[in-house]
């Protein structure tokens, strides 16, 4: 099987990725792939390398060795401008903290990435309103996100990620700052709406309850992906160890 075929079966894929920060090796040859429309959870304890793996798959970090493929192209071989363009057009992000601009309203925050992609202002704000409505917070559109509760702010973040109609959403501990009921509501919305839209989700979490929303769960330990834990549907082996 050629690598191109493998990469098309998998929308996003890390192959033997090695990444160090100074003397600390975070990833020691991690391999994992997500199919189009799949919700993949990457679990692992603190310091296991799971967030580094997500950042490499999203083109935020460049691996020291190994390859990252996205939609048939080598992401790690692209220049920074190309990767930035992909992150704006094809990737959505939901992080634990910090991706919203607290001084801007919820509608501004959702519309901002669309405006950066040169969507017309009226359409961008109409799209923002539609997604805030789907996330159940239409009444918060005019509120500054800095004034919203944690759960409301995370809903804005999910709306912002989905409004771009990305091919993949990268979510790093998306419920980490929320109480369990609010967190589960956010996960219901994120995974439910992503499934409706056919959007791939790569989700990093230490929380098994959050991981259980995924179609497939893999575990990262000591910088390696150690295998599939839970699979709904066709099993795809993501385990790959290096010597």
């Amino acid at each position: 099987m050629s690598s191109a075929v493998v990469t098309r079966a998998h929308l996003v894929e890390a192959r033997d990725v090695v990444k160090s920060f100074g003397q600390t090796t975070a990833l020691r040859g991690a391999s994992v792939a997500a199919r189009p429309g799949e919700i993949l959870a990457v679990m692992g304890p603190s310091g296991s390398g799971k967030s580094t793996l997500l950042h490499c798959m999203a083109g935020i970090f460049t691996p020291d060795r190994g390859e990252v493929w996205f939609d048939g192209q080598r992401l790690d071989a692209l220049d920074e401008a190309e990767r930035t363009r992909l992150r704006r057009t094809d990737f959505g992000f939901v992080f634990q903290f910090g991706q919203l601009v607290p001084e801007l309203t919820a509608a501004d925050n959702v519309a901002l990435p669309l405006l950066l992609n040169r969507t017309r202002r009226r359409i961008a704000y109409k799209t923002a309103d539609t997604w805030l409505d789907r996330l159940g917070i239409p009444d918060k559109a005019a509120n500054r996100t800095g004034e919203l509760s944690g759960g409301e702010a995370q809903r804005v973040a999910v709306a912002r990620a989905l409004a771009l109609a990305p091919k993949v959403i990268f979510a790093d501990e998306p419920t980490g700052s929320l109480d369990s009921l609010t967190g589960e509501k956010v996960m219901d919305l994120l995974t439910g709406l992503a499934r409706e839209a056919g959007t791939t989700v790569v989700l990093v979490t230490h929380d098994a309850r959050v991981a259980a929303y995924a179609d497939r769960v893999v575990m990262v330990r000591d910088g390696l992906v150690s295998g599939d834990l839970g699979v709904i549907g066709e099993q795809v082996s993501a385990a790959k160890a290096v010597k």
Binding site: P45, A208, R209, A212, V217, L229, G230
Partner: protein
């Protein structure tokens, strides 16, 4: 689940026929395992014998269940005491899983791999229960939540034990483990 106390509790709402009690028990507490009619009537008979319920006169009609049962004062006292009594926290200090891990270490078998498989089984069950939470009625969702929290606690134990297998091996196989 105590069937007699649960039926007694259902009777405290209002006097009922055995059939109604069975239907409500199956709806709220059965979760896929229906209460046999025979058990309903046998339980009601024992509760009547013990003075906790009173069976009314048999009503005319077909079928075995023509009595309307009502709870007595003694029954009410029993339900109150049961509800107020905390459920045993059940620390499960001797779980099957603990026994398997310990035996695996004693026998020199791959305890870490057993724990990995157990973790995978737990995650798969959690995925199924999460589907129930997402798509089920509130009663089912809350029961799924209860199971999910227990499985989550198990998983934490599995993770902790995985990280401490070498220490456990030193305890349960002292003759094999070189002293530090």
């Amino acid at each position: 689940m105590s069937v007699p106390l649960t039926l007694l509790g259902l009777l405290e709402r209002e006097p009922s026929h055995g059939y109604d009690l069975k239907r409500d028990y199956d709806t709220y507490f059965g979760r896929g395992k229906q209460l046999p009619f025979g058990q309903v009537y046998a339980t009601l008979g024992r509760l009547a014998r013990d003075g906790k319920v009173a069976g009314g006169e048999a009503e005319p009609g077909e079928g075995p269940d023509r009595k309307r049962y009502s709870i007595t004062d003694a029954g009410r006292v029993e339900v109150d005491a049961w509800l107020a009594d905390p459920v045993e926290p059940e620390p499960h200090l001797q779980t099957i899983l603990f026994a398997k891990v310990t035996l695996a270490l004693m026998l020199g078998k791959p305890a870490a791999a057993y724990l990995d498989r157990q973790r995978a089984a737990h995650i798969r069950r959690m995925q199924e229960l999460t589907e129930v939470r997402r798509n089920g009625a509130l009663v089912d969702a809350l029961l799924a939540d209860h199971a999910l929290f227990h499985l989550e606690a198990d998983l934490r134990w599995i993770d902790l034990t995985s990280a401490r297998l070498a220490e456990l091996a030193a305890v349960v196989t002292p003759e094999r483990t070189p002293k530090q």
